[in-house]
Point group: C2
Chain length 235, copies 2
């Protein structure tokens, strides 16, 4: 009972932060790439108009690739899971000896004696549905995917990418020369990357100060490299 409450609590904790996780992932990615692209262009062109158009095109492309890509990946995962469930039911019916053997191997792998391997396998295999669930989870390592979750998650990440991408781009709307835009954009974006890196680390359970620094550094390195390379190839 105590365990049940414990598990239930964990699950709740996870659920409430799902949205936050999506937002933070989408935003920290959305901050990074458009920021670096804008920085790169700032070193090579003299009109903020081009930076803005390229930035908007990138935000479009990136959010669709992440959002639609994530959505279709979710659908694919579901199809894959359903196909594997069918296959396991078929195997349990038609290749019973092999499945019995595989179940015993599982119990052997966690250190049970030969006698307990036999007994535990017999009990698990008593109920066909229970047996298939067991094989899915512990032989194949597949968790039942939540169909709604994938769709929602993809949408949340896509929208957050757009919002995140508008942060590094916004200064370019208001200044005349790209290099001036870059100065404000860099200050604004690095602060935001640090904050979102901190939150991202919190939700993924990593040391938040180190994680924040890492996320900010990736953004800075990407922007610096893009700036340097674009200047090299620039007019």
């Amino acid at each position: 009972m105590e365990m049940d409450t414990h598990l239930h609590h964990e699950e709740q904790h996870l659920r409430s932060s799902d949205l936050i996780t999506d937002i933070v992932i989408g935003m920290s990615d959305g901050l990074t790439v458009p920021f670096a692209l804008a920085a790169g262009l700032s070193g090579a062109v003299s009109s903020t108009g081009i930076v803005v158009i390229a930035g908007i095109a990138e935000i479009c492309a990136g959010s669709i690739a992440m959002g639609l890509g994530g959505y279709l990946a979710g659908k694919t995962e579901q199809d894959h899971y359903s196909a594997e469930v069918k296959r396991e039911f078929y195997e349990v019916d038609n290749l019973r000896d092999r499945e019995i053997q595989e179940t015993k191997e599982f119990f052997a792998s966690i250190g049970l004696s030969r006698q307990l391997q036999e007994q535990a396998t017999a009990e698990v295999a008593k109920d066909k549905e229970q047996w298939v669930n067991f094989m899915m989870k512990y032989e194949l390592g597949l968790d039942k995917p939540d169909p709604k979750r994938a769709t929602k998650s993809a949408l949340n990440i896509g929208v957050s990418y757009i919002v995140g991408g508008l942060v590094p781009l916004s200064p370019y709307f208001f200044v005349d020369h790209p290099v001036n835009g870059l100065k404000i954009s860099a200050a604004l974006t690095l602060v935001c990357l640090y904050v979102f890196g901190w939150l991202k680390s919190k939700v993924t359970g990593v040391n938040p100060w180190g994680g924040a620094l890492r996320v900010m550094l990736i953004g800075a390195v990407a922007a610096g490299a893009a700036f340097g390379v674009a200047r090299l190839f620039g007019p």
Copy 2:
């Protein structure tokens, strides 16, 4: 014995395709976003030079975000795993009753009788290391991360992103007007996206024809949207 050979074979199969998986993931992403960015800019600017510079800046930014991001994520995963192993060893020593209870709950969840739950738990808990491995894998669902794999994978994906990104960009090096570049770029990239979508589906175990179409469609939608939006905001 037969099972051992079977598992060994699967593992080998997986290992030999790790590199292919990385390349395919990096390339299909590298094809999509730079392609869409270049398409967007082609609708809004009149110089291929700007498309090339923006494309190079994006490839820089995207490959660093994916490669360095993946590398650091791999490091983080290792730290997380080590921390959890330590915690489990602590709990096995100091919160033995709770861990015994959790192990029993696992055996109850797969359908073992009360008597077998007790016996199986006693056998698993006999060896401390074996017990911790069991808890890591089946209570926490954590697999021991391969340190070399994460680094290599990040590098492979980053480099593949660069190679993939150069495909949609290459036509712009040779033509005068962006719209002409776009025509060749679209034909070339959509064919490549189809081929890489097919390979990606093969390695991830999805229907390859459907998967190929999906990957190609994401690229086409992203490019179309970027083209439309950039033209809207363009000069």
